[in-house]
Amino acid sequence: MRSHAVDARGVGKTYGEGALAYAALRDVDFFASAGEFVLVSGPSGSGKTTLLSILGCVLRPSAGEVTLFGRDVSRAREGDLPALRRELIGFVFQGHNLIASLSARENVELALRVRGRGAGEAAREARDLLARVGLADKADSLPRDLSGGQRQRVAVARALAGDPPLVLADEPTASLDAKAGALVTGLLKGLARERGATVVVVTHDERIFHLGDRIVRIEDGKVTEGGVS
């Protein structure tokens, strides 16, 4: 019986074949409880982002099982993965990845519309979320007119739009100064907690380690610390 919101057991990921095969993850067990704020740390190339990609249903594991909120996503058909992502997961990317031609509000609305929300409902929720991240006055600005920190706050609002139960963040503070990084991570944690969302953040940034409920360390494709739950 699986009791964790995020439950990954014996997960492996190998790129390439034969002599060129490279194991990015080896027999990894990873768990996160509902509402938990977990940081995943480790050196470059240790497999953090590969784990995040597998948890985010954008990459298939070579071995093991992944269950999100009781659903075995590692055995889901390829065609079912987009629906699983819409239903379960919000993303915050290292480079914010906002749509350059859409305003801050429209970027958040887009996530809601992709999740099937009507236009009016999406507009209301987008406005509310932007207000919560302190960008109500920047709602109509294009990403190019926002600072790095502001863009990442829009990305946080977008990731939480539609109340996905799981939010995955990949180095969200990598390109931010200490103050902006702390602000973005604090917002992510606060808003996720309000909504009961589980958050997994991949980061090198030791300045935000104190915000994690738990820190999982990965080295050479294996969990070396904090993986037990």
């Binding site: 982002t49 990609s53 954008v58 992502r85 819409r86 749509i99 350059a100 859409l102 519309r113 099937g116």
Partner: protein, 382 residues
């Protein structure tokens, strides 16, 4: 709107915003559509213009039925038929009227020496079926005057500076300019109208010969049945409805001149170049925005959703490009319009152009979609 429709609506909006965000690429893609529209419609407009020149006489003659020499392929001077065909046609029940028409070649002697060919059309009073139209001076009734003829206004200089009352020699006989038409220039020499007897004399036809017999079907009569009856009365001749005669002329032109292949090749070339430009532009736009498309996939957009995005872009490109292209081609048509050359641009061509451009842009987007299908959502983490 919710569920998948909300997604498609959102994708449509993203597609349009992406288009207008990159103005340079937008201009490049629209150039492809405008180029294809311009070249294709210019070529088709000229082709339709040339066809209309060859069909205008049949269109304006006012006849429902044409009695022609057997084996006639088009409207041109040829071997005369017996005038008995006129009587044979007139007596058929359902025929409201029948008129003979003379159509023959002529040579007009110029005052300073030399000569110019004209097409002599002889029409009978008082109906003047097959008579002059688009008159800019004089009237059809003027043909009742002795030696009177009506010439084409745009050919006046060519015909030796013709004016009302100018006297010329046509096929060795004295004629007088009694009026002018505008724009009646077929492929061959311009139409020059005369009264029936004068035309017969100019054509050197015997009194019992004529070129064609035109007939009108009485209101309420079945044109097909009347045609069959007229044909039965004229077994050695060919009887065609107006539509049939026009179709025969078009077929003859395409078969005998190669004009269809020539214009078709130019039109096809324009469409092909447009397809290549639009395909490359849309493909390049996908490559430039591949990270955004990866993000959309990571957020849960399906390949079908992204196809909706590209399809929306195709519709907008087709619509905007066609409108601009048609606007340009309409201005070109106005600028070059003359009796000798006129682009004919019917509404069906406009509607068809949009349809073809929509198809072209959709085809072009399919190349971009092939690239989009290969976009892995995991790329957003690299």
């Amino acid at each position: 709107m919710s569920g998948p429709f909300a997604r498609w609506g959102a994708m449509a909006k993203v597609g349009v915003r992406m288009m207008f965000h990159d103005r340079l690429k937008l201009a490049g893609t629209l150039f492809g559509v405008v180029f294809a529209t311009l070249l294709a419609d210019q070529q088709l407009g000229v082709l339709l213009g040339l066809l209309s020149k060859n069909l205008m006489f049949v269109d304006h003659a006012g006849a429902d039925l044409w009695v022609l020499p057997a084996g006639a392929q088009t409207f041109q001077p040829g071997k005369p038929i017996s005038l008995s065909a006129l009587t044979a046609t007139e007596v058929v029940p359902g025929v409201a009227w029948a008129e003979p028409l003379i159509y023959a070649g002529g040579t007009l002697s110029l005052p300073g020496g030399g000569s110019e060919p004209v097409s002599v059309v002889g029409t009978r009073a008082p109906r003047y079926k097959g008579g002059p139209w688009n008159l800019v001076a004089g009237s059809a009734e003027a043909l009742a005057r002795p030696d009177a003829m009506i010439f084409e206004d745009s050919e006046r200089e060519k015909l030796g500076g013709l004016n009302l009352g100018s006297v010329r020699e046509l096929n060795g006989r004295r004629v007088v300019a009694a009026g002018f038409t505008w724009g009646l220039l077929p492929f061959g020499p311009s139409y020059s109208f005369a009264g029936y007897d004068l035309a017969r004399e100019l054509a050197r036809f015997d009194a019992d010969r004529t070129s064609y017999v035109l007939a009108g079907v009485a209101p309420g009569a079945d044109p097909a049945a009347v045609k069959r009856a007229v044909q039965a009365r004229n077994p050695d001749l060919l009887v065609l409805t107006r539509a049939e005669f026009k179709a025969k002329i078009v077929t003859y032109i395409f078969a005998s001149t190669g004009i269809g292949a020539s214009f078709g090749a130019s039109t096809g070339f324009g469409l092909l170049v447009g397809l290549v430009i639009v395909s490359l532009s849309m493909f390049s736009a996908v490559v430039d925005n591949v990270r955004e498309f990866g993000t959309l996939k990571a957020m849960g957009a399906t390949t079908g959703d992204l196809a909706a995005l590209l399809l929306t872009q195709s519709v907008v490109y087709a619509l905007v490009g066609t409108l601009i292209g048609l606007g340009v081609v309409s201005h070109v048509a106005d600028a070059i319009r003359s009796p000798k050359l006129a682009l004919v641009l019917p509404w069906q061509l406009y509607a068809g152009t949009f349809g073809v451009m929509l198809l072209l842009c959709s085809l072009a987007s399919s190349l971009a979609l092939v690239r989009l299908r290969r976009v892995e959502p995991a790329m957003v983490f690299r």
